[in-house]
């Protein structure tokens, strides 16, 4: 394992498999009445959030606490780019407090990379979402969820639909899922695919209906209504018609196919309520798995050895 988790591209197939296998073991802790392991006792994990994301923060918080780490939540929203305390000074403060790991969410792409390579801070850096760059633990929890339902990811067809251009979830998933052997197809209107996507390790299409054929998993991305003001698409209604997942489209999917969404959902825009609440949807399960996967990441980055997991068995 590397010392930091900044990008899904940092992970080899073996690394990713180790994280997922470890998460499998740790998931059993969550089924016990006492959901706690002593593994990271005395270690400090800082959740450094420069942007609101209650879901991701509490997931990391639960993960760290179940491993008995001390958790500090540092909400620094708007304090960097908007001329408050600089990222550097925040980092130096955390270093002075003795953070062993810093989980960072930041609106600027590359901020976790800068933190990891600046020399400002010595601990492990975990990217919890940076701008429109990456969100590697989301990809890991998605892969974990798929693996549970589809057993192996090798040769599985995964369709990711929506605002790929602005999506850190899509970037990390393309990298991780391709590493794990899945065939990924991105589906979006041409305006919401980045220039250069043709060099990504995946296929892409503008046609949702054609792409759903033979899919093993369909991942719907959140689409912000504001995007239509910048002419990425003409209207929410047209977007839903062409790229939304409704019951009719769902019916055409193969019987075992699962439906995913990283949340928060725009019901009625990229996904209808009927689909989101159907038993094909594994969206709530993704949230549960997020804790196990983040436990595994913290555990492995902070130097846990396999034998320390003995207590889980």
């Amino acid at each position: 394992m590397t010392r930091h988790l900044l990008s899904a591209a940092d992970l080899t197939r073996d690394d990713a498999t180790l994280i997922l296998d470890t998460a499998d073991e740790l998931a059993r802790v969550s089924d016990r009445p006492v959901k706690k392991l002593p593994t990271l006792r005395g270690r400090t994990v800082v959740n450094l959030f420069f942007e609101d994301s209650t879901r991701t923060r509490i997931s990391f918080e639960a993960a760290a606490k179940r491993l008995s780490a001390d958790v500090i939540n540092f909400s620094a929203k708007g304090s960097s780019v908007s001329k408050g305390e600089s990222l550097k000074d925040t980092a130096l403060t955390l270093e002075a407090m003795g953070a062993d790991a810093v989980v960072i969410r930041h609106p600027a792409s590359g901020a976790p990379h800068t933190l990891a390579h600046s020399g400002w801070i010595g601990g492990s850096i975990v990217n919890a979402g940076d701008g429109t760059h990456e969100h590697p633990t989301q990809a890991l929890l998605d892969a974990f969820t798929m693996r549970r339902h589809l057993s192996s990811l090798d040769g599985r067809k995964v369709v990711i639909v929506g605002d790929v251009l602005h999506s850190r979830v899509a970037r990390s998933n393309v990298l991780l899922l391709s590493t794990l052997g899945a065939d990924v197809t991105l589906v979006a209107p041409p305006t919401l695919l980045p220039v250069g996507v043709e060099q990504w390790p995946c296929a892409y299409s503008y046609d949702l209906d054609a792409s759903l054929e033979g899919a093993d998993a369909v991942m719907m991305l959140r689409v912000q209504r504001e995007r239509m003001d910048a002419a990425f698409f003409p209207s929410a209604r047209e977007y839903s018609r062409r790229y939304g997942l409704d019951a009719e489209r769902m019916e055409r999917l193969p019987g075992e196919a699962i439906i995913m969404h990283p949340g928060p959902m725009n019901r009625g825009l990229e996904i209808t309520a009927a689909v989101a609440d159907s038993d094909r949807a594994v969206i709530v399960e993704q949230v549960t798995n997020g804790v196990s996967v983040r436990m595994a990441v913290l555990y492995l980055l902070l130097g846990g050895s396999d034998s320390a997991l003995g207590g889980v068995e």
Partner: protein, 438 residues
Amino acid sequence: MSDSAPSTSYLIKGARVLGGDAIDMLLADGVVAALGADAARSAESDVETVDAAGLIALPGLVDLHTHLREPGREDAETVDSGSAAAAVGGFTAVHAMANTDPVADTAGVVEQVWHLGRRAGLCDVHPVGAVTVGLGGSQLAELGAMAESAARVRVFSDDGKCVSDAVLMRRALEYVKAFDGVVAQHAQEPRLTEAAQMNEGSVSAVLGLRGWPAVAEESVIARDVLLAGHVGSRLHVCHVSTAGSVEILRWAKGKGIDVTAEVTPHHLFLTDENVRSYDPRFKVNPPLRTQDDVDALREGLADGTIDAVATDHAPHSLEDKDCEWAAAAMGMTGLETAVGIVAAAMVDTGLLDWAGVADRMSRRPARIGRLAGQGRPIEVGEPANVTLIDSETRYTVDPKAMASRSRNTPYAGQDLSARPVATFLRGRLTASEGVVRR
């Protein structure tokens, strides 16, 4: 411009003028007083002899595009510190861009910068006047007043911002004809580059940084060359960065349109691959492009489609670069590394010889800026603006050793082989061995 007569004469022995045969030259009374065997013969007894065996002698370099930051951001650079960096870098004249605070959009501000340059006395500082009031892009600044001021402004630019309004650009191009001025356009279509962070392409797609498409530059250049042709005006294009821009310029020159263009050393040397580090020292406007663009720019400079190398020296304080990419300022320093980078990109690759470097870094930029006493050949009777370059000793770029007040060079640790070792401004030594001489 007149300086007090220099007290020292220099006998420079064995320099290779434009990379040719070794020759002696005598610099006295501000001019090249003698060349060849005459030089030693004519030297007074108190002449200072410079052993220039193996060194290349070029006419003093002229930069069309420098940010000296004064007035307003004296923490990053001053006219004095920027002049020192210029002298160390082999320059004898620089054009100081107008995006200061206050903006150089009146006779008062350009005269202030001009006076500060005279006081520093390390190179000729020629202020660039803003095209529009406050770089606002809506109302012409008093171009005539700046032209007639003591600073005698001939180059006008809103650099940092594009004169994107087609009518305003047309009027500016026409208006400056009255005093033989030139509009230097920063070609960047603003709507296509809102919040843009780096070149749009395969690297920006992976890094999740907002793309800055080549077409945003090329479409403005295409419009401007057509406008310049239509009204019969002179146009200069700042920091050309894409292969498409080179093609448009080549076409325009072929049509006889009076357009000139510059390229920066960094666009000849670095690519958007450098941005994978998210290191803000590589954040610059226009952004670093692809290797294909670099190759086309080198070719364009070699065949003369691009007339000049200009540094776009853009000093920034440490705090404006010691941060995450999105929060960082755009720009990199360039005066002190220009010769080394141009040599690596153009001379070592066989694309230009030293005579070609002199043409692109001295003669042509001086002509574009209408600087009578700069960019002249090294001949008897010409102003003694001379730069001596060591092209053989390898060295490593050390930001801490620089004369600029700022340290935001992208070349820290880079090994280079060419470096200016002495600069003479009208016969006066302004820098030697990387140290400014006052």
